[in-house]
Symmetry: D3
Subunit: 319 residues, 6 copies
């Protein structure tokens, strides 16, 4: 059973208590989170050996990110930025109750990870890796991050490591046309694609239901497995000519941030553990539902708890 | 676009965390709130220049009230009480879950504001004011407060400032007959009345639905505009022979205190901005719904957020 | 109106904030709770003179238990354990949101109370007692605790004190067969039995609905009054050939722990105050519903609040 | 060994965290404290049976005072004020660091205790009492409180209960001439006087060192034992023609409020336990030093801890 | 008595609790601070009308800065940055105990204020201003900020507003040679200079004691008044051929950040109030000592408290 | 550069805030700590690869210990206890101010680690280890722990791993004669001994100063290097016929717990890094002084910070 290697940015997340506004005085909850490290942590909590590649400022904030990920069982292999401009990206999260939504302010421009170069990272991790995962956020960060993403995908491919990619379109980082161009270059190196249907429609201009989208993406880009996610409507996977579906498992939401990452982490952990895509989707759904019950970007759970959640859900797996 | 001037008491509000009882040990959340200053703050968050007249103890608690209101963008113009008996009124708020209700203990007797005299206040604020607002709480505080209320209404009238009044009947402060007598003397000086239908029935003995109540109040007391509020059933305004209605905009309630004040603040801000009563009611409804999502007596928001809430509500305005 | 005497263990309860996991860093809320002391405290809040018998370590943690119970109006009469192995049992409570449940980790083995001997306790409390109450948890703690339980029941019987017992089966403490054997020896000394229907089925192997179970238990063990509780379906009491029923009173749940104890405390307080079982059940239901709105094992309320809850519930009492 | 009965006001004490100002936003620490209840609690922690007489508002705040005192092992015997004007006095405490001092804002006017009448209190407590204690704060609260103080002193005298009084002059409550007049009427009923030398000089116009002051007070007012306290310079007791002295025991100060009350509580506890005044003074000094290490008005300790503090202090007792 | 106008950056300051490390998990205290706004706030607390000019991101963080300054009594007149790159600078403060020092991590590059242009600011503030103050931090932020600083100084000069400048050299922002060049261009527009002797030596290469430095700076740059500050050794002012000195007033340090700004704020407030430089220095020293007792960058005080601190200091003013 | 392997217990440490008593209500700070894991964490913060061997309950509390150690950079290699009696030891820490000391209540009896067997641990860690460290606490826990300690020492010896041992006598765990017997059997397997002089005197009955004690221990037990620690008087090392001394480096104490472990961790880290004992002692002293400035058992620092502390200390190294 090989390792999961992920690559991307992680940020300091700052949020006022629920019911308080960011603009009024008071302390802030501070946590560490980022799409790819969230995936690594979720998989690690399910028993996967997980590694996270990135670049961090060589200061207390960079060490904070490392400490946090280690506590989640992830092995960070990071390049340290000791330049004068080194910084950890931050984001401010303000929980909203109806009729105002939860609001995010990004303050991530110029973070150390945007200067990452392939030669700064440890490519030997692929020797023991089973899956490499990154998302569409990373190439959106900077040209350097985009190039490094491609280098890593290439190297992973050469090492016969399964390459996993989540579109994760962020409109605050780039336009749909920029994203599309980048996706086109990335997708040819991808074996397993996680595609939020919203992103497929916005960026890749594809219409149709989840099943047809999954089929078309697999076909167009020659991707072995495509998982299309539809928020509250669950997910659909296409692989090897077959479609399988997974409902969402109900959860009381304490913190919705990171739900999608927990889903991906659950799927990857289970695939690495040797299960088929259908079983993997169900673990992903359980991981996603559990994430909602935990404060912070990161799922904290155990394999046993995930399986309990699966058992309790009434036949969440359907075809 | 002129200023909004309000007059009334503001208190220190002390509350244990949700699920804790006031009678058990532990720290208390401490905030500043009062009907008229809440209105001023809500309007200020929508862009209105707002002034608050009052009398405060010349000590750290009085300064706390001033600091809090300034942070909300309100300009306090207060008389300072340096007497030995100077005090800031307080109230204790204990959140309740079904089957016990949220409970309030007032400890406001003898607060500095109860000794306020007209000559202590700065009447020049009316020179730049567009609307003067106070509520039925203020004359209930003391004879001095009642007289000062009347003086301010008279002066506002002479300065051609629109006089706004919210009945805001508080049974813990006076009897319905005392309130009625006071209302009678006040209402002849009022141009815009906010009348909770519950108070109209309890104090002014009027029956009938909101529309007829609005019409009758306008007629009886020769008031230009009457807004009758009906809690969950929304509000109705009568002006110039016309009736318009506004539904409540759904909200997840974090803290219900101050919802009515936010409504009034929203309506006044929009009227001052030049809108008609129908539009103003809708801003009031959005402000009220947003208030419910924020801890404390006071709405913290922006005009943009209010307009987003309006856009999302499905046709909240009806006729 | 005599006193209520209870006997059992009380523990330190440690819990992370909601949405946090016990396995991640951060402070813990710390409270004191135990079935029999919870009952005593609930009854005390309703006006009953309540005494709690137990054995505690002679250290700051033992004193903490005493201080907490005194604050709830209970008079602790405890044996102090100054041995080297003295300890206060603890339990860890992690609130869960769907799909994961609230989780409890007990760390109570070898607590001082497990070494309690009859001669260490003050049996003179029965001179002024009206009711003695303990639960099936106590004999499960240790042989010494079981023997002391029996001695206390015998002494209470000799003093004409009503003996109340709650089955309270805890599968983490003993097997159903061990429990059954113990129950058989206890029940002959019981005048008033609280029997969760789940426990009756699991341990006493009785089938049938609540009414028939109540009748059969009263008959089999010659118990004057049997109250069968059915969770969300309310309770049923059999006494003197008559059955009465009580619905659950709706509540918004802040903390469900201790709901059953509050029910028993409410029933006992009202019986001691001289009411009939039907009225007592209704007070129990109101106490239970109020408990749900309060953080911690222990109901903090007043008789007035309980009666308000009863008044608001729509005809909760039926026959 | 008889009981200690005390009589006086207790208040809710509200304080911002150290380094924060009362005038800026943020939660407040909330505790219960008052001179005479502090004395009762300190004595109770040393093993004395202690009773506290007072009048409290019949609401959650009054219950909070009762709960707090019970947790300290004190038995409150209070009259409940269910009038509309019932209130618990409050005081705001802001810790100061050099060059600004710790600041107190009293908000205690009109508290329920100011309306207390002798007939509302339970005079049967004197039947089992050994010592009755009150302070100069109580007669300063109101005429009713002053009269009740005198009635209690008279009744205690008739019951052969030792009457203890602490001058405790508070310049914010009355003038020195008012205080002097009151003291004159009180002191004829006093057997044991605690006299801060600062108060003796300010109010009773006596000059000279502690020894001569103690002698003179005992002589002038025919008081059996006079303890003169001198802050950092320790205390001096005169009784039966003899003088004994006690140094202050060094302490790191966390919270200085209540130090004097802990001293009195320690002295009274030890006198009630049968020790001579010299030993009692040493327990008082140890209790006072321990109080400084504990947050809040009230000493939380054990007899063992007090004795440890005594043992560690290097010969604190001198002659 | 005219207004004080200041210009500069304000940041969000994030700090873990004392004894905690920034690199370990946990919430962060969040406050707003910046040299020039600190000066404005300190002066405002002493009664000065204070205005703060700056540029802020048009989001919740920018509004937070405005709210905070308003609560301190400062009137912010800011340009709002609604660009995609708008950001509020942040800094992380970790309190250290010996042998490790308090540590600061700046994350302020690219803050909105670095893009400020003269035409974005309201130069009409000089019409009612008495003093304009900025510091050497502002021109170090960016070329745009440096140019705007010069424009403001020129405009202030033309409006006969006293121009005050604090060298405030920050080695993390620029080299000593860059700073020197900038200072040279600024100093010709300065009437009142605050010069930390450390900065004078490091940047302006001047040797000698404070007195001679003050004299030389006044002479070299034709500055009316030069105040040289020497940390624990107090300050020296040269004006009009005369030297006066001011000792430091002792304080227990809770938070040392902002001490220098409070000093400047105190001096400016008193100069604006009409006092001579000697008196002004003493107010500055008292303000500085009080700042040390308050958490946060900003002095929260009153004129009365400052005067009390002055009275208590033993003859702090010398010649 | 090989790894550091340590073996021992780690506990959950629960403590009320400073100035609060454990016996009064309120939340508890919760941290993880234990002598040997503290040493591992301190060494890891200095750059050593550190492994911790132990046995933990297979529940959230065991996982909490693992997560905490991972965050400190330690690799836990633990046996998981899934038995019914599995538990994590706890200890309660109450900070004291003079005249009362800091107090500890252990609740560690029967912790999972007391059942550890050699065959449950991964002895392959010695293949890459440079130093193995444990303390006198571990054999005191249980016979099984004592046997496992000896087995590990033997195996380490066979693998040519330096065996380090800290006497760490705990009077609450065993008598001096029990400890002595155990030490005798352990010391023959030890290459590097840390010997608090207090323990040497109490348990090993040796008199004389630190130098002679160090020499004698080395001689008696044939130990290569003996470090005798003397609290505030610094440490002395004897190795290879030479003595070197190290003063304590001054620190402001926030939390003294774990100071000795940080010292050992610093020494071991530096020895593993290839330094001589003299240099290693100085790193130990710096690590110990930094520990005092950080809340919790565990030193959180960096090599750079340790070296800064060394540079600032005035010639702490002497001969």
């Amino acid at each position: 059973m090989g390792e999961l290697v992920t690559f991307g940015e992680t940020m300091l997340r700052l949020s006022p208590p629920r019911g308080q506004r960011l603009e009024t005085e008071g302390g802030l909850d501070a946590r560490v989170g980022g799409a790819e490290s969230n995936v690594a942590a979720a998989a690690a909590s399910l028993g996967t050996q997980a590694v996270w590649l990135s670049k961090l400022p060589e200061n207390a904030l960079g060490r904070r990110a490392v400490r946090s990920l280690r506590s989640h069982g992830v092995r960070p292999e990071v390049a340290w930025d000791d330049s004068e401009t080194a910084r950890l990206g931050t984001y401010y999260l303000e929980y909203g109750a109806e009729p105002r939504g939860t609001d995010v302010i990004y303050d991530r421009a110029g973070a150390s990870v945007t200067t990452v170069r392939p030669e700064e990272l440890d490519f030997t991790v692929f020797e023991t890796a089973s899956v490499f995962h990154t998302t569409g956020i990373t190439p959106a960060l900077s040209e350097a991050a985009a190039e490094t993403t491609l280098e890593l995908l290439r190297a992973a491919g050469e090492a016969n490591v399964t390459r996993s990619f989540d579109l994760n379109y962020r409109s605050k980082l780039w336009s749909t046309s920029e994203a599309r161009e980048s996706y086109e270059s990335v997708l040819e190196h991808v074996d397993l694609l996680f595609a939020p249907i919203r992103d497929v429609r916005a960026v890749l201009d594809q219409e149709g239901d989840a099943e047809s989208v999954a089929y078309r993406l697999a076909d167009d880009y020659d991707i072995e497995t495509v998982v299309v996610t539809r928020g509250e409507s669950g997910s659909v996977a296409y692989t090897d000519g077959e479609i399988c579906e997974q409902d969402v498992i109900n959860a009381e939401t304490i913190d919705a941030i990171g739900t999608g990452d927990a889903f991906v982490g659950g799927v990857l952990a289970e695939l690495i553990a040797g299960s088929d895509i259908e079983t993997a989707l169900s673990y992903g759904a359980a991981a996603a539902s559990l994430k909602r019950t935990v404060e912070g970007d990161v799922l904290v759970t155990t394999r046993e708890e995930v399986e309990d959640a699966l058992d309790q859900s009434t036949g969440g797996i359907s075809r």
